[in-house]
Amino acid sequence: MAEAATHLAISARLVGTPVAIGDGIASARLVTSAEMAADDRGLVHGGFVFGLADYAAMLAVNDPLVVLGAADVRFTAPVAVGDEVLARATVTEAKGKKRVVAVSASVADRVVLEGTLTAFVLEQHVLSRG
């Protein structure tokens, strides 16, 4: 597996850990916890699932200066506290700074999120820009 070159300071507890990283493809996993629950039934807030998919997408691009620009995703099934979510990402288009990344996240064989993220590889850190 290639080494992660981006998002090195991110919280594994909140967005997961890399499973595999390759050229234009990556996967990451997240075991959901009680602090991610949106209600007393243990429904996991969609933002955490999105965070995992976003992380996988950034790893698929795997550039230190990558940022997320847009997302078009569907949440197709609920996630419960304790579920292990696996997100997979594939770069489908690379044109200039733009990267289009297909993402999907699953719990076992059940797809819980799928969509497209658009990322940009900048020339300098996004917080350094004037």
């Binding site: 597996m1 998002h7 991110i10 499973v19 595999a20 390759g22 493809i25 996967s27 949106a38 429904l43 807030h45 969609g46 933002g47 699932v49 999105f50 976003d54 950034m58 940022v67 997320l68 620009g69 847009a70 997302a71 078009d72 995703v73 569907r74 949440f75 197709t76 099934a77 609920p78 996630v79 696996l86 997979r88 594939t90 489908t92 288009e93 289009v100 990344v101 297909a102 993402v103 999907s104 699953s106 076992a108 064989d109 059940r110 797809v111 999120l113 799928e114 969509g115 497209t116 940009f120 996004v126 917080l127």
Partner: protein, 155 residues
Amino acid sequence: MGRLGTWLGFAGLAIGCGGLAPERVEDAPDEPPALEVTLRANRIVFNRPIRFADDTDELLAESHEVLDRVAELLAERGNLVRVQVQGHSSTRGTTQQNQELSARRAAAVAAYLRAGGVRQEITSRGFGETYPVCHEETDDCHERNGRVELFVDEQ
């Protein structure tokens, strides 16, 4: 992480919090599901796996229908300009064998689509056993990991 522009995922986020019922329909035993081939975001999804003869890149006849439908979908979608065929393997066999087999299977699917008249640019890549979708040592899991996935790029 920096976020530029509009985060369209926000609409989905609200839905995701409530959770939608899965779209999957339980199938009657011994009967294959009615074939569905659809475009979802940048992925072509199908509800039947693409199968090969054991340890070869020979497409089973039962999978021709799936790929024929894929070809039809691509013919209808002139805005799709490229297709990426990904081959993945189970963990049975050696890593090198799995890498090679997944690449050959992806190439076989790409060749079938080209022969079927698909006009889009088609590339194929094998990823071996690196990106599993499950980890159980069961026949079902090995079958799910040994898969072909199709991604598309819009104009």
